[in-house]
Amino acid sequence: MTEEVNSSEEMKEIDVTPSPGSILTVMISILVTTFLVYIYRRIIVRQIRRSVWKSAGDDVVLVHCPTPGYLTPNISPFVMKLLTYLRLAQIPYKLEHDEPMGAKGKTPWITLNGEELHDSQLIIEALSKKFDKDFNSGLSEEEKAIARGFAMMIEEHIAWGLRVWRFIVDDGRTLLEGMKQPFFVSLIKPIFVRSQKAALWYQGLGRHSPSEVENMITADLRALSKYLGRKPYLMGDNLTEVDCTMFAFMANILYNYNRSPYYDIIKGEFTNLYDYVLRVKGRLWPDWNQCLEKTKLK
């Protein structure tokens, strides 16, 4: 009897709480496993992807970018600029969406014959050289200078002004409206919007009031409209490189910014810009509708 009582008491006294040593072991195991998975994804998966990309084909440009948009083939005007150029230059390309952001933290970027290139402008310059395509050859030196001025105005000023509307005025809603995003994006959107607002402060345009920015961008659009005038394309009768930039951004306003004042301006006061978008779209994007994302995320 006594022995039974003793053994049940002994059993009650067995300490089942894990020791600090075993807690630590479990935690370290979890950390190490997470780290190994991370390394696997970053190094090994990347290597696998790159060897797949190499087989895209000789001289086939593999464009790494976000998935297609609902309203434009891509929500990023820089991607649209590059794709428009590739179509203008009739350079075969394929789209790839596993790694849209490149080494410089920008999109688009390309892989060509195993080599990686970043930044839409540097890519276009490199491809022009490689495939011997010069769409500016019909322009005088003065006209080339003007084209560069307008390209800079669009990419370094209008682009930021549009971002002011997208992130400061509209709070980033168009990010979710314009393309299919996985569910967690709507959760992290506020963080992304805040980082873009900080970028706008650093860049400078974010320091002005939205109405000041609206005046500035309206003046830019007026300048484009006045210079385009009655011409079919910005620099004259033929498409040139700057048209890829101009089309990308004007189309972006028309399709992805329809709640912004710039949409009203293009459709109302500067209708030649609206006609211009339709003209270039008809010429270089006859398959526009096939390039859009069809399935909506519930």
């Binding site: 001025g149 370094e156 650093y202 860049q203 210079y227």
Partner: protein, 300 residues
């Protein structure tokens, strides 16, 4: 005082010091807070005094707030030069002040006019153009106005950044400090703070992600475009100077005088001599007092 009170005081202060010495962290924090609060109150009153002074300067006289004068150029900031050149072109009376270069939007230059503060050189030029009816670009044909705007933006939104990369990220502000007449506080601010913040800004803007060589090539293409567009003309848009010439002058002045060791001075002198000629033309026209403004010998 009788000896008892003195003794009591001494004992009390000894106890007090002992008590304080046991809490060094709290003592230091308290002293720091007291110093900061006093400094803030003093700064606020200094700022108020300044603003009273500026408001009394005179009707329609612009108070141009900028960074301290340069040693080789009237200013080492292209934006201050652009604005000051415009004021001279438009013959608007102004007074230069360098006591508060950073304005309402966290940037300089900025102005006070009849007590009102306006920030951003471009917005200032537009506001003054309206007020004094001195908008030179509006007198051009519409297509030319469009080109002028594009050229202006190429400089203020692209060349600005390429030059900032060299000035702050590559050169770490050394030339800037050599070419400016800074007091100790400004010198320290530029030495400690400007390069770091410039790197962050350049990354956010995008240009900071490229290599040095890539940035240099981009700048070359911008200068080439300006040179090609200027051609044989005396000024960018024709026979008469306008706002965009002030901007061009602001940037070329920097590149020629305040960027020793960078590739840009040589680039402009050797490859784009018409830009240097434009600089000389504007300098002769609008800055007869260039040497007096920037000379080492002159103390303001």
């Amino acid at each position: 005082m009788n000896t008892v009170t003195v003794e009591a005081l001494r004992a009390w202060s000894c106890d007090g010091l002992k008590w304080l010495s046991k809490r060094p962290g709290q003592v230091i924090s308290a002293v720091a807070v007291a110093v900061l609060v006093t400094a803030r109150i003093r700064l606020a009153s200094v700022r108020r005094e300044r603003r009273k002074r500026w408001a009394k300067i005179g009707k329609d006289i612009v108070v141009l707030h900028g960074f301290p004068r340069g040693r080789y150029t009237p200013n080492a900031s292209p934006f201050v030069m652009k604005l000051e050149t415009y004021l001279r072109l438009a013959k608007i009376t102004y007074v230069f002040d360098d006591t508060e270069p950073i304005g309402p939007k966290g940037q300089g230059p900025w102005i006070t006019l009849n007590g009102e503060e306006i920030a951003d050189s471009q917005l200032i030029i537009e506001a003054l153009g309206r007020k004094f009816d001195k908008n030179f670009t509006s007198r051009l044909p519409k297509e030319q106005q469009a080109i002028a705007l594009a050229m202006n933006l190429m400089m203020t939104e692209h060349i600005t950044w390429g030059l900032r990369i060299w000035r702050y990220v590559i050169d770490k502000g050394e030339q800037l400090r050599k070419c400016s007449r800074y007091d100790l506080v400004s010198e320290l601010a530029v030495y400690l703070w400007f390069p770091r913040i410039a790197k962050k800004r350049a990354w956010a803007q995008g240009i900071g992600r490229h290599s040095e060589k890539e940035v240099e090539e981009m700048m070359r293409q911008d200068f080439a475009a300006l040179s090609d567009y200027l051609g044989d003309k005396p000024f960018l848009m024709g026979d008469n100077p306008c706002e965009v010439d002030c901007t061009l002058f602001g940037y070329i002045s920097q590149v020629l005088w305040n960027y020793n060791g960078s590739p840009y001075g040589k680039m402009v002198k050797e490859d784009y001599p018409n830009l240097e000629a434009h600089h000389s033309r504007m300098k002769t026209l609008l800055y007869p007092d260039w040497d007096a403004l920037s000379s080492l010998a002159v103390k303001e």
